[in-house]
């Protein structure tokens, strides 16, 4: 299989209420490196194993949540083709000019029916502090703290999520890998893949548009998840749940909150997805096991608490 068109989630711009506290969390607890601060005060960060300039952008303001999630695509021409196709859909699109984020080319911005902004872009500068490529060691500088490998995926809450899927599937080839149904058998949470990952983004049906449930970072294995759990307790990070495993996607995981109340996840594992595989489905009677495979029941906070 050759991955073409949309390649992967590339960035997320997150709103935080106090930059200093946010930096303590994302830099000193998760272990991201600070790339730089823009003239407008936005701070750019990346994980040690990411090749491109940045992946997490923090913007200080008084309402936390997600501004925009970005996806890297294989060519600039793909952006024009996609913009043309999007004319057949009832959703606003616009171009964000090159340089709006340093080192990033023009972005095709899609206002999704769920109330989220997705940006698609073909160009981002390579980092001057990326992973080694010649006789590459597993890391260049020693990973710090949780030592997250990369920004991986997100779960977003909003309205009309199947409308999102229609656009993302028909225009951008996102596939529906796995579904959690509601008590009536209608999709409640949909897990979409544009790659071999079990999910690259998920959406949950929710009465308010444009909400962030969590932004997720990859770890190597169960041991790394355990080390992260030790760090969370040591530094009193508010943990939602974990370490545990999901039935859906099979990831091993911890959920916790940043100092502005945005939920994060660190996880390892998950199955490999191919677009010819049958879709997996969970009915609502099994939602406990689907979400928390070991506890086999939901906690109070996981479904309702968002920013």
């Amino acid at each position: 299989m050759a991955i073409n068109g949309v390649l992967r989630p590339g960035f997320m711009q997150i709103r935080v209420m106090e930059m200093e506290k946010a930096l303590w969390h994302y830099r000193d607890i998760l272990g991201l490196d600070v790339v730089g601060t823009g003239e407008d005060g936005r701070v750019y960060l990346k994980a040690y194993d990411e090749f491109h300039r940045h992946s997490i952008i923090l913007r200080e303001t008084d309402v936390p949540g997600m501004d925009v999630m970005g996806f890297k695509v294989s060519s600039d021409a793909y952006l024009d083709e996609s913009a043309e196709k999007l004319k057949n859909y009832d959703c606003k699109t616009e171009w964000v000019e090159a340089g709006e984020q340093p080192g990033v080319g023009r972005r095709l911005r899609v206002h999704l029916p769920s109330g989220h902004l997705f940006d698609f872009y073909a160009d981002m500068e390579l980092s001057d502090n990326g992973p080694m490529t010649e006789n590459p060691d597993v890391f260049k500088d020693m990973p710090r703290a949780c030592g997250v490998i990369r920004f991986d995926h997100a779960l977003l809450y909003g309205v009309n999520v199947m409308e999102n899927f229609k656009i993302l599937n028909e225009v951008f080839d996102f596939e529906l890998a796995e579904v959690q149904n509601d008590p009536e058998g209608k999709p409640l949470v949909i897990f979409l893949s544009i790659s071999n990952k079990a999910h690259d983004v998920a959406f949950a049906e929710h009465e308010e548009p444009g909400k962030l449930h969590h932004c997720s970072f990859l770890l190597e294995d169960w041991n790394a998840v355990g080390h992260a759990a030790d760090i969370m307790t040591r530094f009193d990070i508010p943990v939602d749940i974990g370490p545990t495993r999901h039935g859906i996607t099979r990831g091993r995981t911890i959920y916790f909150w940043d100092p502005s109340g945005n939920r994060n996840e660190v996880f390892a594992g998950g199955y490999h997805y191919y677009p010819d595989l049958p879709q997996r489905t969970w009915d609502f009677d099994n939602v406990g096991k689907a979400i928390f495979y070991y506890e086999k029941k939901l906690n109070d906070t996981f479904l309702p608490v968002v920013t």
Binding site: P64, W257, P259, S260, N262, D300, T301, P304, V305
Partner: protein, 103 residues
């Protein structure tokens, strides 16, 4: 004791805990094993822990303006995870309770 503690009472007339200086009302409730105020992010972002401070002195940390407007804040409608008592407080929970807490 080297740090001051303050008495936190709820308007239900039956809940009373002590909250050490520097600890938020929500965390003090949580540590006491009480779920009279819903616990979420503990960071002023999600809004589930909304309360109204009926009386008493306190200061607040940063709270999401999506959940607490300036007018709310002035009227004592605040997020318990960001309320730090400076004296004894009387508090009225306002948040939406979780399904498991609704009887």
């Amino acid at each position: 004791m080297n740090k001051a503690s303050h008495k936190i009472s709820l308007t239900d007339g039956e809940t009373e805990i002590s909250c050490p200086e520097g600890v938020s009302v929500l965390v003090a409730m949580h540590r006491a094993g009480l779920s009279k105020i819903p616990v979420g992010c503990r960071a002023g972002g999600c809004g589930v822990c909304k309360v109204r401070v009926v009386s008493g002195q306190y200061h607040v940390g940063k709270m999401s303006r999506a959940h607490v407007s300036e007018a709310d804040e002035a009227a004592g409608v605040v997020l318990a995870c960001k309320v730090f008592p400076e004296g004894d407080l009387l508090i009225d929970p306002q948040g939406k309770f979780y399904k498991s807490q609704q009887k």
